[in-house]
Symmetry: C2
Subunit: 300 residues, 2 copies
């Protein structure tokens, strides 16, 4: 996104049906527009992204909706069998189309994770508004972090990429299918602040704030669980000394996994890295034990 105005914002919840904070936040705001309507002059649309998964209280029905927004998926002509592929095309028609002609300037997609991720602000482009606003929020909120997933926007499978700019607001730890009142209230404050900061941006004020020094955690690579050659059940668990230690430095030789008969498996690889999404329940089926990131200190 360039330095132009933010005229259209989408706030999404329930992109994963069992991540209930976003579901209930969007439902609350739909019933009570006064909760957000005065915060900024942009047009704000609310959307429950995956109503079928929300109904089932499951991550998805047939396919992970938040992996269905690559241009390739969206371009499939035939009417797809799987519900989420159809829904992705529908959402893209409503709020996209993905690419330069998109109707949406900013998309805020509210997620939860079971991992100890705190208030994680996932940015998919290093555009000045999302970086600057997110940097402000790391100062205003405890346990707030910026995680950057560098991906070619057209290939990226995430819902947010149908907009010019987006933040995936990923709050944890919260168990899927449940609610946590403290997390609900903090998430609501966080989303409101993005709307207020968009207004500040439109008035040209956010641009004038003094630059903020901030840690940026950039995706390096995903790490799977140890498995037997040829496949099969996982052979080890996250090491007890690592579980819950998202964003902490991990170096070659540090404890990584523990086998079922009590043996330690050590990390060997590029160091230091900073693991996140450690033991996220939804990622077991994706064979992701954690995502490794690299940390840079930046000014925004």
């Amino acid at each position: 996104m360039d330095m132009s105005l933010i005229n259209t914002i989408v706030v999404a919840g329930g992109t994963h049906g069992n991540e209930r904070t976003g579901v209930r936040l969007v439902q609350k705001w739909m019933e009570h527009p006064e909760c957000y309507s005065s915060l900024c002059s942009a047009k704000v649309d609310l959307v429950l992204s995956n109503p079928e998964a929300v109904r089932l209280n499951r991550r998805y029905r047939d396919f992970d909706l938040n992996r269905a927004f690559s241009q390739t998926c969206l371009d499939v002509n035939a009417d797809p069998q799987q519900y989420e592929f159809r829904r992705a095309k529908e959402l893209n028609a409503l709020y996209g189309p993905k690419g330069a002609a998109t109707k949406t300037d900013l998309l805020l997609d509210v997620h939860n994770t079971g991992s100890n991720m705190g208030n994680c602000l996932i940015v998919s482009a290093r555009d000045p508004f999302t970086m600057r606003a997110s940097a402000v929020l790391t100062q205003e909120f405890d346990d707030a972090w910026i995680y950057y997933q560098p991906e070619e926007r057209s290939a990226s499978p995430y819902f947010g990429t149908v907009a010019k700019a987006d933040v995936c607001i990923e709050i944890g730890p919260q168990q899927h299918g449940t609610l946590d009142a403290a997390i609900f209230e903090e998430t609501e404050r966080l989303v409101k602040r993005y709307l207020e900061l968009a207004e500040e941006w439109n008035r040209g004020e956010l641009q004038k704030r003094a630059p903020i020094k901030v840690d940026v955690y950039t995706q390096f690579k995903d790490l799977g669980y140890p498995k037997p050659q040829g496949g099969g059940a996982i052979q080890a668990m996250i090491h007890p000394e690592l579980l819950g230690k998202d964003y902490r430095e991990l170096k070659s030789g540090d404890k990584l996994f523990r086998t079922f008969d009590g043996k330690d498996i050590l990390y060997e690889g590029e160091s230091p890295v900073y693991p996140i999404f450690i033991s996220e329940p939804a990622y077991y089926e994706k064979d992701i034990a954690m995502s490794l990131t690299k940390k840079t200190v930046e000014e925004w």
Copy 2:
């Protein structure tokens, strides 16, 4: 169970397919019988109770297996459509039949909960072996508790009730579908200790230990979430001051729920009570926000 010998023990995991500690413990012991074979002279059978749910990494496929063992369910003559009703009849044939003629003296069923329940030992009968052994374990293990569910054994829907005596070992917090190495290792130690204590019982030694003073939390009633009259989505979350506070005293006037617009709902009712299974993910669909218990101090 009377004071007779414990000749046959069943150790079960995966009664709920996404409670992975029991699943992996039973799988490990099946591959490595030396882990348990020398601990007691009783015949020990291992069983993965719901292999279909284990495969799906879900609580159940069609119906909650651990609600399918009432005599009424087991007596249905026709071949039931739902997988879990069929599987319950199968397990009852293998390890029961429920009632006086059962083949199994003791059933240890290993579960996980997302609630902050620690090492919860759920007993369904106040028989001298399970009470005494569980009392010993509350001394040997940190954060170990006895929860008594008084139910007429024939009507009780739990797998354990196909045996003469049973303990449902319910460990948390662990998110469903995940593993936690520290919990895995502690659970294995706990199950092993039950087998050793069964041996001690059979030698007449457990009976001779000095009595142990222990808190027993007895099921009083389940509490649902506030809902609109006529049904619909829940209107409030567990209060932040209550979340995670399983086994703590709750009195009339204490904070119970928080609505989505930030209002507190107070507990009104018999006091004191001791809530457990607070915000257990699997109980949202059962409309159970928590179970209230009453505490007694007993000697076993």
